[in-house]
Symmetry: C2
């Protein structure tokens, strides 16, 4: 179908022309609402008038950044990468991603399961809600999506074919290169600096010693194609309740280093921990967050190794090439390197939120100025520490101690 | 044009239908000869009857391996990657690659300058010919092709766009993964083992301790996209005389690690050194080869750094992000890592030639059995040593001493 922008006027006819969706609703009277809070895209909720429990969500990309307008052009091709990533998730982690009812790259449209019984995880964490299945779910998401799209599982040609589908996600990779690895550490007009923190920001911008490691990590981000990444795996890309966890919004998907998604997630959990450590005395909840960080990594590592141990042949491993002892040592070093890169990326993901363009609500949204500053500076301190030491942090205990030592 | 196989019957009409080529010859009487020695492709020499100095060469890929026949299918798309790489060379190193007169990816055809005053460098080295411009030329080739196609020079979107043109060179990457990084170190039907070396081969196939490093290097080969590589830069891919050096046959071109081309070249120079050290007492020539290895690397490094120092902005570097001292340290570590990976890849490229499917003439072609065995075992020893120690070899002196110590 040729691209045209969907509106409240034409969307109903569009939807009813899709057999799969017509069958789903079995009702020509649809309630259609636009949700105004999509940053990048237009988002509609569609419900059956007969049965409002029957609901789907439609997302359409426009050739600009929705929240800014046509003055900020951004290719709508981003939706193609989101669709391709969601289709991968349907195969690799079917219970952890929304069910897709319709997808059309030409129209930059995806229609999917409406997650009305779930909230954005960031909000849940801000409200001190415990999610006791989360580490189990997200570790499966990470292990499955990373392992099954890597050279540790795929054959050589399968890997390169899959890479071909994501290699041209140039614009969004560039956004990450700029906003996660560059602008937030230097004088740049895109930064948003609390006026009381100007001095600290200028101090940071004068410091050079940690930037060598940022360049190293940026270079790894740009050139190491381990696996298909979500690319923006923060707690705002997770819809959650006590039972279920769904990963959404993978428009940044591309082939990059294993550690980047893991690091993004850990960074956002650390931000939540810092926020709680400043805002309230609920030590139990703070400890729960630290425990979740540990569980996420430990469970991920265990699951990843189990998948790898089951794999007899892949692009990397030819049967009988190497004996078990040597392979075990290889895997151990490989995972250790993955852990360290995750910590480095986590450091960038934390530090960039302090003065960079996109703050996180749990820190930049703190109303009381002094506490907001305190939280910002703690985040900065943890971020810089992880960036500086990522190649030396030896295990998850040391990571947890580093977080506790600063925050 | 739709694909059809060119033969002595139809090639003349094909050539004369191309304006550029018609103008070049300015003669409808062409002498056309097929050269039988292409491994992968059909190759024709075309000369003007009026003036035999006017000559071009035409290469066409067929959908199988020419030297084996239709029983060994190999997509003719390999010619598309060769064409794209040659077109890059025309821009980046115009004096070091053949001039292209016509290229057609649909026809899998390229027509280019006929290098009739040059010989394959491998043959020249076997005949103890000195090439005193070689290190100057090849270091420029390496520095320019690697630097200008990397994230150290290109902008982020330019790099990914260029990568898109090479990412689907799946079949030839797979050949390298199999033949350079796997089969030559294990029991495999494709190996060609001199009957007197069966014991040593079996010994090697039982050894495991160096294979962990082979897996590391193979993984780097498969996942690190530093720059556009030639992909098969041995001395058989170089046409040379006293004045000029031309790099040909880049059908293996893809985005891979910087060190792979450098390593391939060093490996082939080391093989030549080993061969001479066994076959004759011309110490002067042996020392010249060692000197060339040193010069190639040192000149490459100097040129690469000069290019990098001139570059103020790229995908990696944003102006004012980092001060000069920190950047200098970053570059030094970066180049050191590139050196070490080059040594590792050189080790694989040497070792795989000993028992693997494609031996090198200067060693496997030695007529006297005992000397051939001696050369093979020395090559194996050097190869394994470089593979085992690549992460510890600190500079070019240590490399040269390692070669001399064994061979």
């Amino acid at each position: 179908m040729n691209y045209h922008i969907l509106t409240l006027q034409n969307i109903k006819n569009f939807l009813l022309s899709i057999p799969n969706i017509k069958t789903f609703f079995n009702d020509e009277n649809l309630i259609i609402q636009e949700i105004g809070d999509g940053n990048l895209n237009f988002v509609f909720i569609i419900k059956s008038q007969k049965d409002e429990q029957k609901a789907l969500i439609l997302k359409q990309a426009v050739p600009y950044l929705r929240c800014v307008g046509e003055g900020f052009p951004l290719s709508r091709q981003r939706m193609s990468f989101e669709i391709r990533a969601l289709q991968s998730y349907e195969k690799l982690v079917p219970s952890l991603a929304p069910k897709i009812y319709y997808a059309d790259e030409d129209m930059s449209v995806v229609v999917m399961q409406f997650l009305d019984k779930h909230i954005i995880m960031r909000k849940g964490l801000i409200n001190s809600i415990y999610y006791n299945n989360f580490s189990e779910h997200i570790s499966t998401f990470l292990a499955n999506t990373l392992f099954f799209t890597s050279s540790l599982h795929l054959k050589s040609d399968q890997k390169r074919k899959l890479m071909d589908k994501f290699n041209s996600n140039r614009e969004l990779c560039k956004l990450t290169e700029d906003f996660v690895f560059t602008f937030a550490y230097m004088q740049n007009e895109t930064n948003e600096i609390d006026k009381n923190l100007k001095k600290e920001a200028n101090n940071l911008f004068d410091q050079m010693d940690f930037r060598e490691n940022i360049l190293k990590l940026k270079y790894i981000f740009m050139t190491k194609s381990d696996a298909l990444l979500h690319g923006d795996l923060h707690t705002g890309s997770i819809m959650i309740n006590q039972k279920e966890t769904f990963i959404i919004d993978p428009e940044f998907a591309f082939f990059g280093p294993f550690g980047f998604d893991i690091g993004a997630l850990i960074a956002n959990l650390i931000n939540s921990y810092i926020s709680h450590s400043i805002l309230n005395d609920n030590i139990e909840y703070q400890n729960w967050i630290l425990q979740i960080i540990r569980e996420v990594y430990e469970k991920f590592e265990t699951k990843f190794i189990i998948l790898w141990d089951r794999q007899e042949e892949s692009a990397l491993i030819t049967p009988n090439f190497i004996d078990d002892d040597t392979l075990t040592k290889f895997k151990k070093d490989f995972l250790h390197n993955m852990f360290q890169e995750s910590i480095g990326f986590a450091g960038c993901k934390i530090a960039r939120r302090v003065f960079g363009v996109a703050g996180v609500e749990e820190i930049r949204g703190i109303k009381e100025a002094q506490k907001r500053e305190e939280a910002s500076l703690k985040a900065l301190k943890v971020g810089i520490k992880l960036i500086k030491n990522y190649e030396n942090i030896k295990d998850i205990d040391e990571l947890i101690n580093t977080i506790k030592g600063v925050a």
